[in-house]
């Protein structure tokens, strides 16, 4: 009897928490976005700057995903399948973006590639703009989301152990074949999960991007930055309208994540 009461109380508490921390803000965004009617809403999200911001956000997300998936798989593979000195150090290094404030991450890039940075002459000679331009935003976002893929993969690969790959190597299989036939089928869903987490984070990243962005409207503003600008210009409804786009994307990512999680569990069981 007592345990049942406890269970109910815990469920209610949990529900209240989710409702107040998650559902309420999300619904508030949508309500405020539509407060002044559908026309204001649509004009806000179809506004030139908003669309450019959306494009930039999506572009950044895609490129970040590609880079992080590639290197994340590489890093996880190296760490779990090989014994070498400095393995622990590499694992810790990968986790650095989690412990650094995103603002610091952005600052680091400014200090390296900005006019006062040591890499500036090199960058200048190649006539590329890194900070205060799109490459800087991509770099900052990549840095901040880097651990997601490898952190998802490392436990999966570690649980898999090296034996299957050893067996395959023993029979003469080369690296690529081992990866295709033995490793990849195993990490498929873990990889997808990591990719989804990475993209969710990349879409919403604010701090690091804000520092390196330069806030050039139409050029180096991502969607979250654009929301801030709208809010600061007394265009509250428009800000919420654009924010609701982010909310929709977030919900889609959430659904995808649940599907993948479900498939993951099914594979394991």
């Amino acid at each position: 009897m007592r345990t049942k009461v406890t269970k109910v109380i815990l469920i209610i508490l949990g529900g209240l928490f989710i409702a107040s921390m998650l559902i309420m803000p999300l619904t508030t965004v949508l309500v405020y976005a539509l407060r002044q009617g559908l026309t204001v809403f649509t004009s806000a999200i179809t506004d030139d700057y908003a669309i450019k911001a959306l494009q930039l956000t999506l572009l950044t997300c895609c490129i970040t995903l590609l880079i992080n998936t590639f290197f994340g798989v590489f890093a996880a593979w190296t760490i779990t399948k090989f014994r070498f000195r400095g393995r622990q150090v590499l694992t810790t290094l990968i986790d650095i973006p989690f412990s650094i404030s995103p603002v610091i991450a952005g600052l680091v890039f400014i200090l390296v590639f900005g006019r006062i940075g040591w890499a500036y002459p090199l960058v200048e000679s190649l006539d590329i703009n890194v900070v205060f331009a799109v490459p800087g935003i991509i770099l900052a976002t990549t840095f901040v989301t880097f651990p997601f893929v490898s952190r998802e993969l490392i436990p999966v690969m570690q649980a898999q152990g090296r034996e299957e790959e050893e067996a395959a190597a023993l029979m003469g299989a080369r690296g690529l074949r081992i990866f295709r036939k033995v490793t990849f089928p195993h990490i498929k869903w873990g990889l997808l999960y990591g990719v989804i987490l990475c993209s969710a984070r990349a879409l919403g990243e604010f701090g690091a991007v804000s520092v390196v962005s330069g806030h050039l409207r139409g050029k180096t503003n991502t969607l979250p930055l654009h929301v801030e600008i709208l809010f600061n210009e007394f265009k509250v409804t428009a800000a919420f309208a654009v924010a609701s786009v982010l909310v929709v994307i977030a919900v889609i990512v959430l659904i995808l994540r649940n599907i993948v999680e479900y498939r993951l569990k099914r594979e394991k069981g």
């Binding site: 050893e166 023993l170 036939k181 195993h186």
Partner: protein, 352 residues
């Protein structure tokens, strides 16, 4: 010698896994590496396979030094302790893997894999995935997978460790038969001496990275050459004050002795045959062992073990009995000597 190891040494972080290991295996033989956990037997196996590199020493297969040949090109089939089957491939795919890597023709692969599946008795299960198989079936697939590319040496790492006791016995004999049929030189690692004794043509006993003895099971059983071998094979009790046992004299250089239950015969007092050679003792415990009784008898402070057939009248706890010890192994520092019960000979009576 088809497979030869010469002076192999291997250290892991200060732990000596292989200490000057040397031995050889004849072609076509099935050899067992037997030893307690951590004795280095798996390390030796992995060095043979090329999964580990020795710090020093030579490995020769068919007269050729293979130290510098990568694992995949040594012509070795390896069966892992927990099978390491490719869980995302079918049984067929698993067995065919080695051949696919070698880029053999599809028809050839089809024929060979089918042949092997028949050999291991798993017809009809080709399309199954490993997780749909029982432990014994998985083991057989792992075996077939290792055999498919026709290796010159088959290595098995504790092949039956993960299998139920009942299935284990059947699988053991099946493995023995099949390896004999195929004729491939094989070495397997185990810590179970019953298994080694039953399956292997010859046994290599390992202890703390060193080789204690190499020989046929009978050899090692009857003539253990080191204290460890004497104590490891068969059931044994170590006796420190063996001079106190009737018929045995304390000898210099041999501080301890090993007694096996087969050397100890307990009879009812009224049935005593060699009064001088025997000793009186009290039955401490009686255990039922399925096919015999095990007796713990207190002989003047020393506890010995003996077996009694179920056909005989069972002893009771606390009963006084007459114990005759036929022989024991004296353990010196590095050697073992067999010592017979002197009083039996001098009695000149008939043996039972």
């Amino acid at each position: 010698m088809y497979v030869e190891l010469r002076n192999l040494n291997k250290q892991f972080n200060g732990f000596k896994a292989a200490d000057n290991v040397s031995f050889g295996i004849e072609r076509g033989h099935l050899a067992g590496l037997l030893g307690p956990s951590g004795s280095g037997k798996t390390t030796i196996l992995r060095m043979l396979a090329g999964l580990e590199t020795p710090d020093s020493g030579d490995i020769l297969i068919d007269g050729k030094r293979v130290n510098d040949i990568p694992a995949a090109r040594r012509g070795i089939g390896f069966v892992f302790q927990d099978y390491a089957l490719f869980r995302y491939m079918t049984v067929f795919g698993n067995i065919a893997f080695g051949l696919t890597v070698q880029k053999k023709e599809k028809r050839f692969i089809q024929a060979r894999v089918t042949e092997l599946i028949k050999l291991i008795g798993l017809e009809g299960l080709e399309r199954r995935r490993p997780h749909q198989l029982s432990g014994g079936q998985k083991q057989r697939v792992a075996f077939a997978r290792a055999l498919a590319p026709n290796p010159q040496l088959l290595l098995l790492d504790e092949p039956f460790a993960a299998i139920d006791a009942k299935v284990r016995k059947d699988l053991r004999s099946w493995l023995r038969e099949t390896i004999n049929k195929v004729g491939v030189t094989s070495i397997f690692v185990t810590h179970d001496q019953d298994e080694a004794v039953e399956v292997a043509d010859e046994i290599v006993i390992t202890n703390s990275g060193r080789i204690e003895q190499v020989g046929t099971p009978t050899d090692i059983y009857k003539n253990p050459q080191t204290p460890f071998a004497a104590g490891f094979i068969g059931e044994s009790i170590v006796v420190s004050d063996y001079g106190r046992l009737h018929g045995f004299q304390a000898t210099d250089g041999f501080d301890q002795a090993v007694l096996r239950p087969e050397f100890v015969r307990a009879v009812k007092l009224e049935k005593e045959v060699f009064p001088h050679a025997s000793q009186h003792g009290t039955v401490q415990e009686v255990y039922f062992r399925g096919n015999a009784l095990e007796l713990r008898i207190n002989l003047g402070g020393q506890v010995v073990t003996s077996h009694q057939s179920l056909e005989e009248e069972a002893f009771k706890v606390g009963e006084e009995v007459s114990v005759l010890i036929y022989r024991l192994y004296l353990l010196g520092r590095d050697s073992v000597r067999l010592m017979e019960n002197a009083s039996i000979k001098s009695d000149g009576s008939f043996f039972i």
